[in-house]
């Protein structure tokens, strides 16, 4: 610790050079992601201008096509911010599509009754995982891995086949559009943006949100400072479970079917979006707005590859992998600087 050799109160005992100051700023990763998004968007504009890339609707489609991912990633942001991980996201989404399709199609329940049920099941699943993680002091990785298998298995218990949803109220909900003048947004996209706004408020303006940051920063300290660290942890996984179920509902609307193999591995997309959005995997540092840009970057990669036309969709994965690596390295540089 070279810094300790300086007098404690000198204001310049903090950072010296502008570059170092910038590198130390917690907002930097979000800025980088936002800039990246902008650069990719401009590149897309110049390359596919004649193919209609400039249409406002192409931009709005990013929200329509990735609304469910945004909701799941917001839930994952809470968990990762607290220093944990949730691997059950994809399975809970898959389970929710099956659960919803089965109740609506096979049991004939109205969708408005099924929605709160699905959300309750997701939240309960998250709560139970959080409870086990906290009370038995087990690694979140293992507990949520068990959750991953459990929910995927439950999908197949409901049915081995996919269930298409023909219910009229579901399709009308799926096709509902809110016009913005230059284009429109779907119900899913609007819900996702509302979830984002609520998450932002909760993380920055409520004691619960600050506790999530505190636990991610230093769990032991949070405990010694007298914060209810156990309750916060359980709540974080409950939020993630709830968001996964909500993402599952949006996915059901988007795809209008339930399938036991829906959203396999989507937890990894959610985690990738969170990390690319600048949240430290070790917890305690990041912004939910970064997660939005993370999701938009992933969505934009998909759009660009579609516009390119000749590229296989697997290039999405490759691009995601490269980005993820790059962003992990940025995080590493940031934390290494802090330790120095």
């Amino acid at each position: 610790m070279s810094a300790t050799t300086q007098t404690p109160t000198a204001p310049d005992s903090r950072t010296t050079s502008k570059a170092a100051q910038l590198l130390g700023d917690r907002r930097l990763p979000v800025l980088v992601t936002a800039t990246l998004f902008l650069a990719m968007y401009i590149a897309g504009l110049s390359r596919y201008q004649n193919y209609g890339f400039g249409e406002p609707q192409v931009f709005l489609n990013l929200f329509i096509d990735n609304g469910y991912l945004l909701v799941a990633a917001v839930g994952a942001t809470f968990v990762i911010m607290s220093g944990g991980i949730d691997l059950s996201v994809g399975s809970v989404i898959g389970f929710t599509t099956m659960f919803t399709a089965w109740l609506v199609e096979r049991q004939g329940l109205p969708i408005l009754v099924v929605i709160p049920m699905a959300l309750a099941v997701g939240a309960l699943g998250g709560f139970l995982m959080g409870y086990v993680i906290h009370n038995f002091e087990i690694q979140p990785f293992i507990v949520t891995l068990a959750g991953l298998f459990l929910f995927r298995g439950l999908c197949l218990v409901i049915s081995k086949e996919s269930i298409a949803i023909g219910d009229a109220s579901v399709s009308s909900m799926a096709q509902a559009q809110a016009s913005l003048g230059v284009g429109f947004l779907s119900v899913g996209a609007i819900v996702a943006l509302v979830v984002l706004a609520v998450a932002f408020y909760v993380l920055h303006y409520t004691p619960f949100g600050r506790r999530v940051y505190a636990i991610g920063g230093n769990e032991q300290s949070a405990l010694l400072m007298g914060l209810p660290q156990g309750g916060t942890k359980i709540a974080v996984y409950t939020v993630s479970g709830f968001c996964s179920a909500l993402a599952g509902l949006l996915f059901t609307l988007y795809i209008q079917s339930g399938d036991p193999l829906h959203a396999t591995g989507m937890e990894l997309d959610a985690i990738a979006a969170v990390v690319i959005g600048g949240t430290l995997l070790t917890g305690g540092s990041g912004y939910v707005l970064g997660t939005l840009f993370g999701v938009l970057v992933l969505g934009l990669i998909k759009s660009i590859i579609q516009f390119e036309g000749t590229l296989s969709s697997w290039w999405t994965k490759i691009a995601t992998g490269v980005l993820l690596c790059a962003f992990i390295l940025i995080q590493r540089a940031m934390t290494a600087r802090k330790k120095a």
Partner: protein
């Protein structure tokens, strides 16, 4: 000073752990507006007493009275709510949050569940201001050095409970200064004095005697879990204090003193110039000659181990250089030191040295194998011969290379550790408390071994808590105090235990 009523009174405190009586009937009192030092060597029961007071440990006997009321704390939170706050050596705050948030988290001002950020920052700024600190409360905590973080922790501590109209009555500072430099310590002391003026009773624990004498009004001395005495700082000098802590009168120590040193010490083997590490040990010069035994004397926590770790590359120095056999060596990792012929037997043989689940043979061979690299295994015949030789030479019992090290007695484990390093034929052997926790017979054997090794030309850096041991074995004695090498004494008839103690107490070499 007319004595007011103590704010805190602990009477007949007993705390037992399985097989150990950590505290037996300790009395302790604390007056409002005083800074009180809790003194004692490591293991004297200081931490246990603090943990009992702050609710980390439950009480096995005795009473605690706070403000005339009998209390008993089940958790640190309960103690905190009653007005007893603690700041530990490690800062227990969240580095990723702002200073203001760290002060207030858990009790943020809210309206309809929404945090009032403006009010929070304003109140934090006022609090910091009132305590005379110059800290930007909106900056993240991690942007400040550890010393400031510690001040923030104190601000948080004294402000907790303030909202409930009682405030902190007792502030416990457990070794807050161990990693601070001089200016930072002064800043801390300024804050402590201000709190003292506000009537807070401060319990201060520090290994640094000078600091105790600078800031404290009164002290309580513990030894082996019992109360030795309570004294006004002004009425007890440092020599007297050290005698109380160690529990032996100076003349008593002298009788044990005898010399049996060999004379042939060769040329310089290791030379350290201005080697130092912030928070570890102040820069020092040290020279170790071939075949010389250099002893390090000093109280526990005076920097003995830190010095040794620097010479072994276990910690990285921030200043100075080391040369071995005339060649400069970069001590960036223990591997460099091992390559240069330095071996280090750590004081925690259980946690840092031996692998208890491996056999005696495997443990002995470990360092040699590491020195050769994993790609060149030692031929099994050669290995068995070497292991057999050292088991015999050091008289390790049972003399069974297949025995698991964890099942051996402490003395024999120490010998296995020694054997491991001797087998690499080091030029310099660093022994950190090699005789701690082993019986007298094994102790004598290890000391004899040190003498015979040095006669054979090996240099030894010998660290021991017992001054007699250091005196008996060393050619040169380095005296440490407050993480500083304060004197190097050439051993001779005129060097006695009391002379060393005086040097430790005064911090100067006459």
């Amino acid at each position: 000073m007319a004595e007011p009523l103590p704010v805190l009174e602990m009477t007949g405190i007993v705390k037992e752990f399985p097989g150990v009586r950590a505290l037996s009937g300790v009395d302790f009192r604390l007056f409002p507006g005083e800074i009180h030092a809790l003194m004692g060597e490591n293991g004297a029961g200081k931490s246990t007493l603090i943990k009992v007071l702050t609710g980390v440990y439950s009480l096995d006997g005795g009473t605690i009275t706070l403000d005339g009321k009998s209390v008993r704390f089940g958790s640190p939170l309960q103690a905190q709510q009653a007005g007893i706050s603690t700041v530990y050596q490690e800062v227990n705050l969240c580095p990723n949050l702002s200073v203001a948030e760290n002060i207030f988290i858990g009790r943020e001002p809210t309206r309809f569940g929404r945090i009032q950020w403006k009010r929070l920052r304003k109140e934090a700024a006022e609090l910091v201001d009132r305590l005379g600190l110059d800290i930007d409360v909106t900056a993240p905590l991690s942007s400040y050095p550890l010393a400031v973080q510690q001040l923030v922790a104190i601000v948080r501590s004294v402000s907790t409970g303030a909202g409930e109209g009682q405030g902190t009555k007792v502030l416990v500072l457990d070794e807050p200064t161990s990693s601070l430099d001089r200016d930072e310590v002064l800043e801390l002391f300024r804050l402590m004095r201000r709190l003292k003026d506000e009537g807070v009773a401060i319990l201060f624990v520090s290994h640094f005697l000078d600091q105790i004498y600078e800031i404290c009004d009164r002290m309580t001395v513990l030894r082996n879990g019992t109360l030795v005495g309570e004294h006004m700082v002004s009425e007890l000098d440092q020599v007297g204090l050290i005698q109380l802590m160690i529990g032996k009168a100076l003349d008593q120590l002298e009788e044990l003193h005898e010399h049996q040193l060999h004379a042939d010490v060769g040329e310089t083997l290791l030379k350290a110039d201005g080697l130092g590490r912030t928070g570890g040990i102040a820069p020092f010069d040290l020279e170790i000659k071939k075949g010389e035994v250099v002893g390090l004397a000093g109280l526990l926590g005076s920097g003995r181990t830190e010095l040794a770790r620097l010479l072994f590359g276990a910690d990285q120095p921030d200043s100075g250089k080391v040369s071995i056999g005339g060649k400069q060596v970069s001590m960036s990792a223990p591997n460099d030191a091992i390559g240069a012929g330095v071996a280090f037997c750590s004081e925690n043989r259980k946690t840092e040295g031996l692998v208890p689940d491996l056999t005696v043979r495997e443990n002995i061979i470990l360092a040699l194998q590491a020195a050769r690299g994993w790609t060149r295994p030692i031929p099994s015949a050669q290995r068995d011969e070497l292991v057999g030789k050292y088991i015999k030479a050091l008289d390790i019992r049972p003399a069974n290379p297949e025995a698991r090290v964890g099942q051996l007695s402490g003395g024999n484990q120490q010998k296995v550790l020694l054997a491991r390093w001797l087998i690499t034929q080091p030029k310099l052997l660093i022994l950190d408390e090699p005789t701690r926790g082993i019986d007298i017979g094994a102790k004598a054997e290890i000391q004899k071994l040190v003498v015979s090794l040095s006669e054979d030309g090996m240099s030894v850096l010998y660290i021991a808590a017992e001054l007699e041991e250091v005196l008996r074995l060393s050619h040169t004695i380095g005296v440490l105090r407050d993480r500083k090498l304060v004197a190097r004494l050439t051993n001779g008839p005129e060097i006695t235990s009391s002379k060393i103690l005086e040097t430790i107490a005064s911090g100067e070499h006459q």
